[in-house]
Symmetry: C2
Subunit: 585 residues, 2 copies
């Protein structure tokens, strides 16, 4: 399941002097040219993701979160009262704010004397209650700042989502509960592997884990700087962060070896990491800032999914709901307020444009929608940014496969019909292929094609996901027809044409109004867990409630996968709407 | 009180080409020659201190300390049980050892997966109970080691005493409670100042605090290595350390700024530091080893004194007891099982040989005992190591002053009588002086003398200490005559001739059998606090019970100090045994 076909070079590529970077031997100094498209892609993706979260969810803030900010006045020491600084502060906290059982790190003690004296014995104390761990309310100091602070001044915190591809940060004011700025950026670990498996392999090499940790930390720090600039905040004022992400991303952030995640029986070191501090991890927040990595469920169902369940409200839904987060992995949750089951299917990154000859991410120049004339087999397409096409992104690939199938260019097994009366079907360097755009229309002056191997990769990916739904439903004794609503998380999902995704068998055949696209459900969950103790408790409860089903241990999975390798499925009765379309044509 | 006369160069010294290092300007490359005596001194002192603790106190070990070592077997994970490593360990700890509320650092989690797999799911878990802080017994893991450990195998811990001059470490096996090796060494901070005040000044400079922290850490690490070698232990196996030391030493160890200790009103940042870890401080112990810095009372009454009170049993004494630890500072405690008062008098390092022209530490070549013939004024002396003398150490200085006083070379104000019929009294480069050893008897071929300025420094030092006793006694409405026993800690104290120390007025005039010399009471206290939870609680109780009296805020102190500047005291009635001797002669 965790292999995927590799796209190799065609005879033509080799003739033109192309070589596989991973196979070529460097024999002398060389210049590396980065194609212009790659260079701008970063910026565009960032903007697109940012646009998507420009109106963060509106949440009624009840101010029941554990971080508090207090103005404290101490009686200055004198020869008659030589109490140490720390005991003096404890006395003031007890007398002025009824705070008991207060603790503090050595690291914060290092700043205490200077803060008290600089503030002339008036200070702002930021503390957090350990409400989650035991019933006695203990309290830990996070910062002591000279002087008093106005009640209305922002108290900065952050919600972070670490995706394998993209990292997002929301800068939150805990006083108002509002998101004051946000930023997204590629996870700079991407230079060390595109999926979690290759990251784990890299991390297992000498020093690799430390390097990947530094990379994701530097990505978060960059996002923090940029969000802070926009909100006129200082990174050192951020006092807490909740972090969502898949289990591998969380392990790499904390510097915990992730190698056992990759190997059967696929075990994480920890699903519910203890609190950590900004200082321990190397983040630019306040050194003692609480880093709260949200709880996950299993190696391939991490905190991104529990956070997604939280923010989508699946755990409180009356209706039976199917939740999917399609990223580099496809994680699926099925359930309602009474029960929750989950699984992960390693779909591979085909729908992100990887492992596909002309695949690319959803950025400027990507074909995002395709229509094919059933008489002439001539395609029309829409390009992101409106210019000439450079390749095909996920939604474009879904549309293309669907149109090729409905027009008979593909048979139900995914074979390209080379006998059709069009030059667009042909035998190419990678086997049979269909030309979506001719060289003279494209940005780079080369044909944009989809090959038989590409189709095969995409069918394997969608089959893995569909088999995931099926097995999950079967495990609780139901079928997909019983699903009452479907929730799709992840920025990828937002741009899918539902009709076409159903036609290729990627989404189950439900009425279109049952589908809800929620965007980045993971960071929204992190945001809620940051704002409210009750939501933080709820996410822990969600993690406890979710029953994880390991697909590779399930005998029925391989059968379900094989059946789903067809368009839309071996059993067309599972896709009545598609059957109706096929019968009409 | 915190000034002291500086010994400057005589005209003769200058003529011979001597210059003050702190004043000289380096104008070209230069070679620095370290006198042979300095080079060997380190070794000798180390040996001497080591000899002193060669028979560590015998203690009935009840095994009620919070660190425990457990053999734990985990059910290996499988596709049917994909529980994460940490939850799997928690389950085993709960089922096999009834351990609940277990926590662990991110840092230890980094090693967990490897330890479990290397031990093939059999591990040794070392944990500590947080029994001191709250009533719910929480437990923190300190180490997880692959494989099982025999019950009788040592479980290593350390007791550490950080003196301004000397650092000592006892390597303790928590299984038997025995000290298995010990080591002592100069505190390498000594190159940055000889007393706490000059260390604080140095620490306040840019990067100075970090440097002093590194220095004391490297001293402890060196001691640890050397003790471990002798006991066939590995530093990484040491799982806990209790640390005693004066408040400045503890602040510098933890990297907490100490500047407010030096300035009125003399405030520490913290008297009862929170637990820290070996990793945070940079020690070579197990990274998560608990570093328990014992509680102190005030800026100049630190954990060395509370530990001293603990190990001397002063807090349980029926008799009214006076405890003094004469080091670079003189810390005094007066009390019994019902009450405890304490003060510190900055005696300065005169009794350690500093601030005295021919002063030196108690090492090879130091004159440690002196007798003067009252007819001829010819001195006899005993030299440490038996060779030629190089200078005078503390006990030698006490004996010399006493003999000079009783033979009339000194009057009761400390003036040298230049009219006596001996060449040994003369006007020298530093004013009037007495020659203890002529150039031809000495190691370095120069006269060994004591000057009027030296005597003045020594009288100021002993007056500060004596005034400390008096004011402390006065504060509780009694006189020194009510003291029923006197306990003297610190390695310096061990070599004092009691009779002569009384004769100069350094010790109060009690019967000799009331004096008890206990050596390094500080490390003994650290050892007890390491071994038994009840002793650790007792030392916290001692710190709470001790009432600190700030001498510089006490109006009667200056008067008491002035009265004590004489030999033995203005009021001779306070020293009846000395009066008897004087009357006889």
């Amino acid at each position: 399941m965790r292999r995927r076909s590799t796209v190799r070079l065609s005879a033509e590529d080799v003739q033109q002097g192309f070589a596989l970077g991973c196979q070529a031997i460097v024999e002398s100094d060389l210049d590396i040219l980065i194609p212009a498209q790659e260079a701008i892609e970063r910026h565009v993706t960032t903007d697109r993701v940012a646009a998507e979260i420009s109106v963060p969810i509106d949440y009624e803030f009840t101010r029941s979160q554990p971080v508090s900010r207090l103005n404290v006045s101490l009686i200055p020491p004198s020869m008659d009262d030589q109490t140490d600084d720390w005991s003096r502060l404890l006395t003031a906290l007890r007398q002025q704010h009824s705070l008991e059982h207060v603790s503090c790190s050595i690291s914060l003690l290092k700043q205490l004397g200077a803060a008290l004296r600089e503030g002339e014995w008036h200070v702002t104390v930021i503390s957090t209650q350990n409400a989650l761990e035991d019933n006695t309310k203990t309290c830990r100091l996070l910062d002591v700042r000279p002087g008093f602070t106005d009640e209305d001044d922002p108290l900065w915190a952050a919600a972070v989502d670490i995706g394998t591809t993209t990292v997002s940060l929301w800068l939150v004011d805990l006083v108002t509960g509002k998101v004051k700025a946000h930023a997204s950026e590629y996870n700079s670990q991407i230079t060390r592997g595109e999926d979690v498996i290759s990251r784990i392999v890299y991390a297992s090499k000498n020093g690799g884990g430390e390097e990947l940790q530094r990379q994701v930390v530097s990505t978060i720090n960059k996002l923090c700087d940029s969000a802070c600039k926009r909100a006129h905040a200082k990174p050192k004022e951020i006092i807490k962060a909740t972090v969502a992400g898949n289990s591998t991303m969380i392990h790499l952030l904390l510097g915990i070896p992730a190698s056992s995640i990759r190997l059967s029986p696929f075990i994480t070191t920890v699903n519910q990491p203890p609190y950590s501090t900004s200082r321990e991890i190397g983040l630019v927040f306040a050194p003692e800032a609480v880093i709260d990595c949200l709880p996950g469920v299993a190696s391939y169902v991490g905190a991104d999914i529990t956070a997604g369940v939280l923010s989508s409200g699946l755990d409180k839904a009356e209706n039976i709901t199917l939740f999917i987060d399609i990223g580099t992995n496809g994680e699926i949750v099925l359930g309602n307020r009474d029960w929750l089951v989950t699984c992960a299917c390693s779909a591979g990154p085909a729908f992100e444009g990887a492992g596909v000859v002309c695949g690319m991410r959803a950025t400027t120049g990507a074909i995002e929608e395709v229509w094919i004339n059933e008489g002439t087999f001539e395609p029309h397409y829409r390009v992101i940014g409106g210019g000439r096409p450079s390749g095909l992104c996920g939604s474009g690939l879904i549309a293309l496969i669907s149109e090729m199938f409905l027009t008979g260019i593909l048979d139900k097994s995914g074979n390209i019909n080379l006998t059709l009366p069009t030059k667009r079907v042909r035998e190419g360097g990678h086997g049979s292929e269909f030309v979506v755009a001719w060289a003279n229309e494209s940005e780079h002056g080369k044909d944009i094609v989809i090959t038989h191997i590409d189709v095969d990769n995409l069918l394997r990916a969608k089959a893995a996901i569909y088999a995931g739904y099926s097995v999950l439903a079967e495990q609780v004794g139901m079928t997909l027809e019983n699903v009452q609503q479907m929730v799709i998380g992840g920025s990828f999902g937002k741009y899918i044409n539902v009709e076409k995704a159903i036609q290729i068998g990627l989404l189950p055949d439900l009425p279109w109004d049952k589908f809800h696209f929620l965007g980045n459900t993971s960071i929204k969950g992190a945001y809620l867990a940051l704002l409210e103790t009750s939501e933080r408790e709820r996410i822990a409860e969600i993690a406890r409630r979710m029953t994880y089903i390991e697909l590779s241990a399930d005998n029925t999975f391989f059968e379900a996968f094989t059946s789903a390798l067809f368009l839309p499925h071996t059993d067309i009765s599972k896709f009545p709407s598609v059957r109706a379309v096929l019968e009409k044509s």
